[in-house]
């Protein structure tokens, strides 16, 4: 999914760069509400996890391969604003240290995975969370759905961009169809992994899952004082 240099025309790459910069700028402001000093390492861990998962490619259909995008997972764990920042960092480090994704395509990649992937995943998660029973355990299936939808959504946006501003004239419907088709399969893998990780974390540290906070009752804390 990491778009390399040269896939979009130079003006289109610059345009997505501007969109990405604006999105990241908004996220920098929005993230202040999601993170405090104690949870900021969590953003780093989520980034590390997404980073490690993105380095592992698994084969999909017809000789192509896919990997976890992690946008929905990150959004559920640390909130969508911070998740956008995490994905931005992951993509930048991959482009600069691992040559994965072109540096001129960084804006495109941030738009696809850090904005579309994160926010579509988050939107789907919130919608499903609303209809499920209000228990912490509901976070995992909701996150799965978020993961499932986020991948083909990002792929569809890529195909549209390529169709409109790519360096090769292509029939839009064919490219969109092919990309979405392949990425629905990848989305299934994304759904399974997202659900598993979220359910493991919710089971023991529900306080670490941003998206599960509305589902929590405050734990009873003993507060009675004992005479010395």
């Amino acid at each position: 999914m990491h778009v390399p240099d040269g896939f979009l025309s130079l003006p289109a790459s610059l345009a997505t760069g501007v969109v990405a910069a604006a999105g990241v700028g908004l996220a920098l402001r929005g993230a202040r509400r999601e993170l405090d000093e104690r949870t900021s390492p969590l953003a780093g861990l989520v980034a590390a996890f997404v980073f490690a998962a993105q380095m592992l490619n698994f084969p999909v259909a017809a000789g192509t391969s896919g990997h976890l995008l992690g946008g929905a997972l990150a959004a559920v764990l640390v909130g969508p604003w911070t998740a956008t920042l995490c994905l931005t960092v992951v993509l930048a480090v991959q482009a600069l240290l691992f040559a994965d994704g072109g540096v001129t395509a960084l804006g495109t990649n941030i738009v696809l995975m850090g904005l579309v992937g994160v926010w579509v995943g988050w939107g789907a998660f919130v919608a499903v969370r609303r209809v499920l029973p209000q228990r912490p355990a509901s976070a995992a299936p909701a996150a799965s759905v978020g993961g499932l939808l986020s991948v083909p959504a990002a792929a569809a946006v890529f195909a549209l961009l390529f169709g409109v501003a790519g360096t090769v004239p292509v029939p839009l419907d064919v490219v969109v169809g092919a990309m979405v088709g392949v990425h629905v399969l990848i989305g299934l893998g994304e759904a399974v992994i997202t659900g598993l990780v979220v359910s493991a974390v919710v089971a023991v540290r529900p306080d670490l899952v941003y998206g599960a906070r509305p589902l929590l009752q405050r734990p009873a804390v003993p507060s009675e004082r004992v005479p010395a």
Partner: protein, 248 residues
């Protein structure tokens, strides 16, 4: 200083999973005093220590260090005063080399240059690890890591030294040397240990934490002589220990 260096009052705490761990702890340590904290596994000893420099925050109650309440505002000053050696050295060591790790704390306090080098060398020499200075901490044996962890805190010269089972994994000579280091330092010490003879050797006073409360607090010799108190809290004198030592 006239007040106690450490003053814990009515401290309660539960982990995020909701299980209450501390249910009203009261404990005072005077400047320069050495106190042993005893108690069964899972009593909450480590949990209590982590409150003393604000790593965990109490649900209710207060912790005061040298007159300063442990609140986010005072954390910097409190952490300068209180040096905690964690139970697991892997939680403590994170730099690429032993030298860097020991230098980390004093450098954050503003120590620089030759003074920093000397502080690091002294602390490593005190724990017998001077030769390992250039090695990565995660390649040391567990006992070696424990010594380096101690050195990282000694290098900061805290006013209250908090030690969580400092002798575990140390060889017998290192254990005695640690006792000599501690008696040679002019700091208050609060030490968790399961080694009752060691507590008797080093600390004039002991407190027993059990069921989330301090259930006994007094001269170590007297506590260790009270067999029924010990038995009620999963404590007992070890095989071959001669209780006559306690009555010297």
């Amino acid at each position: 200083m006239t007040g106690p260096i450490l003053d814990v009052r009515g401290l309660t705490f539960a982990y995020p999973d909701g299980r209450p761990v501390l249910a009203g702890v009261d404990l005072r340590v005077a400047a320069g005093e050495r106190v042993a904290l005893l108690g069964p596994n899972g009593a909450g000893k480590t949990t209590l220590l982590l409150q003393l420099n604000g790593i965990l925050r109490p649900a209710s109650g207060t912790v005061t260090v040298a007159g300063l309440p442990v609140t986010p505002r005072n954390l910097r000053e409190v952490r300068r005063l209180v040096g905690v050696v964690f139970q697991d050295p892997d939680d403590q060591l994170f730099m690429p080399t032993v030298r860097d790790d020991v230098a980390f704390g004093p450098a954050n306090l503003g120590v620089r240059g030759a003074k920093l080098d000397r502080a690091v060398a002294d602390a490593l020499a005190a724990v017998g690890m001077a030769e390992a200075a250039a090695r990565p901490p995660h390649h040391l044996s567990l006992g070696e890591r424990r010594r380096v962890a101690l050195a990282t805190v000694l290098a900061m010269r805290p006013a209250l030294l908090v030690l969580d089972e400092p002798t575990s994994n140390l060889d017998p000579v290192a254990r005695r040397e640690l006792a000599e280091i501690l008696t040679g330092l002019d700091v208050a010490v609060l030490m968790v240990t399961h080694d009752l003879p060691y507590a008797l050797q080093l600390c004039e006073r002991s407190a027993i934490l059990s069921g989330g409360r301090i259930v006994a607090d007094g001269p170590t010799g007297a506590l260790l002589a009270d067999a029924s108190l010990l038995a009620a809290h999963r404590l007992e004198l070890p095989f071959g220990f001669d209780p006559a030592f306690g009555r010297r």
